[in-house]
Amino acid sequence: MTATANPLSAPSDRQPGALAGTGTLLRFMLRRDRIRLPAWVLGVTALMAYFANAIGAVMDAEGLESLAAMLANPVMALIGGPGYGFDDITVPRVLAGMYGLYIMLGAALMSILTVARHTRVEEQTGRAELVRANAAGRHAQLAAALIVAVLMSLLVSLLTSVVVAGAAIDPRPDVAGSVLLGFSFGAVGLVFAGVAAVTAQLSSFSRACSGLAGVVLGAAFVLRGLGDMSKVQDGGLSGLSWLSPLGWSQQTAPFTLDRWWPLLLSVAGFVVLVAVAFRLESRRDLAGGIFADRLGSAHAAVWLRSSFGLAFRLQRPSLIGWSAAILVAGLIFGAFTQSMNEGIGGMPEEIVRVMGGADGIVEGYLGFMGLYFAVIIAVYAILSVQSLRAEEQGFRAEPVLAASVGRPAWLLWWVTVTALGALWLLALAGLGEGIGAAVTVGDASLIGPTLLGHAVHVGAAWFLLGLATALYGLAPRLLGLTWAVFGYGAVLSLFGEMLEFGQRLLDTSPFQHAGQYPAGVVSWGGVGVLVVLAVVLAGVGTLAFGRRDLTTA
């Protein structure tokens, strides 16, 4: 008996009928996602269509020339890709090399959230138990969720192929390249469906499933970013790109090399990940994780005694995770400052101009990264308001508000903790960036200005936080509109200058108003206006929340 009790080779690994019920569950999931699925697929496609037609519309030959010069910059490689074919630049190549990455991120998020929603979230809520109590096999739910994710990735591939091939671009993108580009997006969706399938097995906590998968996505982004920066500068680290699923898709080089074989890596990665996920799922209990739960404290900490304490306690795990990721990312990106500095001799004037000008490339790079981190940290702020809504929808707000806690306090302390968290994260990003730059460049005086330059971007994050709070109070169902404003602002600020949009249009982005210090001056007026708007919006949200009914069971 004891001889076979090796937990690593549990005899029941292969349950007969482990996939029973997959078809029924698949139909059920498609029914549940009848709005969500088309929204994701069409949303990603619409973003691609927007990029394709917008660039086609604004780019003339001269614009392309100056864009080509700018794209030789390692920072552009970091936020864009390896830049295949940029020495003989065409609009389709810009589309694939510069904007494709963001469609890939969209596809990855789509897959992660879809798989998490249909697996671990179902288990945590106990609904999976009801399903499994019927004639449904152990792997049926995961298998059906993966089929949904694969289907969505396939639809994204096909539809983006069509919109690229049909875009109003001169010269018209060739069909073969368009299809390859489309499928390079779908390949990322495929791999991250596999990643989420694995992370769903690890912890019994549903947020950990999407959170860990998000960490993998972040790591993939950073790896290929470093690899691509190295490639643009003919450095020795370009192999790093090949360690990243995003890199595999970008290495297809649509409209340039048109090679399909890197996508084999994506498919192989998906197969391996799914196999691992099924194997892990065979070894664990329903609703359990591979990592066991530990006992916690029998008493609450002394500070856990107010709505502020509760808000901090509930946001603490996410803040710790974000802090670690942001600090590491800051250090890594900061460490690349010296490479930028060395490469400056070979860079055209245009880059120095766009990167902030007179103070040189070091300051320009550090200034631009503040904007970049502001966009990332705005995501943290908006997600936090969504967690607050989840508190209400999960009926956990009710017993708190039934205690002696006022609604304004409950809402405002949560938002305050998030606002302070956003400031902390931006400062941390600036500190990491500054230290990375100071160490590699050998100039410790970079740390202070970089920290300040990053921290003042908090205005944009606070503005979006305020907007989300207002929507939460007025009409919680419309909270998602914040993402539209965020996306609009992020696209304008990250790409608007390249697309040569007018300053008036660029100024409608909330990310545009802090100034790219230390490259430029800090725009205290702009930051002040954003902060005031944020406070007003939060106030509106608080008043409105005080007037509406709570969601109850």
Binding site: D293, P317, S404
Partner: protein, 308 residues
């Protein structure tokens, strides 16, 4: 009545003609409810009758339409925060934070109300047999219920609002719960106990109200309600009883095997007993109406509609 909002006001809970509408659905339809200080008040009604909605109006979580609502002398919507310091609430469906332990949640809720009696808390944890070190996501429904109950009972509050508080508890824990409520009553606390466990209400409640379709259809002590209802009687007499069926207040008369079964309006019982005594009674059992029968009187037509 010159007293303002103070503990001197006549009732802990006063609802007059309260309405609450969710879209087209009228959840509370002119509800009147009065609960005196220091009273354990049973709140009975089937699912969907409006019990939880009433309690949430009292908590200021939902805002009522017309009518007036007073809670501990204050306005439940406007004065929510101040009032909540003086009450504790236990929902029927307790949701906890997945990554907070039960002990943390108990302390948090009690502190948010104004303070926790640590000795009482530990004693209650012992009595309810709860492991406070486990994370919220690992608790069963009954254990989540215990967390909310312990936190409520360990708080020094005047009023307990309990919405089906023992829905997930086993019979042993049910007994512990009943002892705790009796202790709370001895300490002078007011309890509004919504339930559909009739034995629990019978054991604990001083007065009770029955709600149906958003209205209170009956309210009073159990005795008063019984008085308004019928007593079941089974009697064996030496002499046959004629004309019994014609007596006022006698219903459902059946004779079988020498026994006579009938029910009688409780108010008519003394008169009838004198009549029966003249017929050489050999055996007699009389059972007061059970709570179930009282409820059925108000919901009987619904059962018929449902084909039961």
């Amino acid at each position: 009545m010159t007293s303002t909002a103070s503990a001197g006001s006549p009732a802990a809970i006063e609802l007059d003609g309260v309405t609450k509408r969710f879209g087209k659905v009228l959840a509370l339809d002119g509800l009147d409810l009065r609960v005196g200080h220091g009273e354990v008040h049973g709140f009975l009604g089937p699912n969907g009758a409006g019990k939880s909605t009433t309690i949430r109006v009292l908590l200021g979580i939902l805002r009522h339409g017309s009518g007036t609502a007073r809670l501990l002398g204050g306005d439940p919507w406007r004065d929510a925060v101040a009032l909540h310091r003086r009450l504790a609430y236990v929902p029927g469906d307790v949701e906890l934070w997945p990554n907070l332990t039960g002990g943390e949640a108990i302390d948090l809720f009690a502190r948010l109300r104004g303070g926790v009696d640590t000795a009482k808390r530990d004693e209650l944890i012992e009595r309810f047999d709860l492991d406070p070190r486990k994370k919220g996501r690992t608790y069963s429904k009954g254990n989540r219920q215990k967390v909310a109950l312990i936190s409520a009972l360990a708080s020094d509050v005047e009023l307990l609002l309990l919405d089906e508080p023992t829905a997930g508890l086993d019979p042993l824990m049910e007994a512990v719960f009943q002892r705790c409520i009796n202790e709370a009553k001895d300490e002078g606390r007011t309890v509004l106990l919504s339930s559909h466990i009739l034995a629990q209400v019978e054991a604990l409640a001083d007065r009770l109200s029955i709600i149906r379709k958003g209205k209170i259809v009956e309210t009073g002590t159990l005795e008063e309600m019984r008085h308004l209802s019928r007593t079941s009687v089974t009697v064996v007499t030496g002499e046959p009883i004629d004309r019994l069926a014609d007596e006022p207040g006698v219903h459902d008369l059946v004779e079988e095997g020498g026994q006579t079964h009938f029910s009688v309006d409780t108010a008519r019982l003394p008169q009838l007993m004198r009549e029966l005594a003249a017929h050489d009674v050999r055996a007699l059992t009389a059972t007061p109406p059970t709570l179930e029968q009282l409820l059925l009187r108000h919901y009987g037509d619904e059962l018929e509609e449902a084909g039961v």
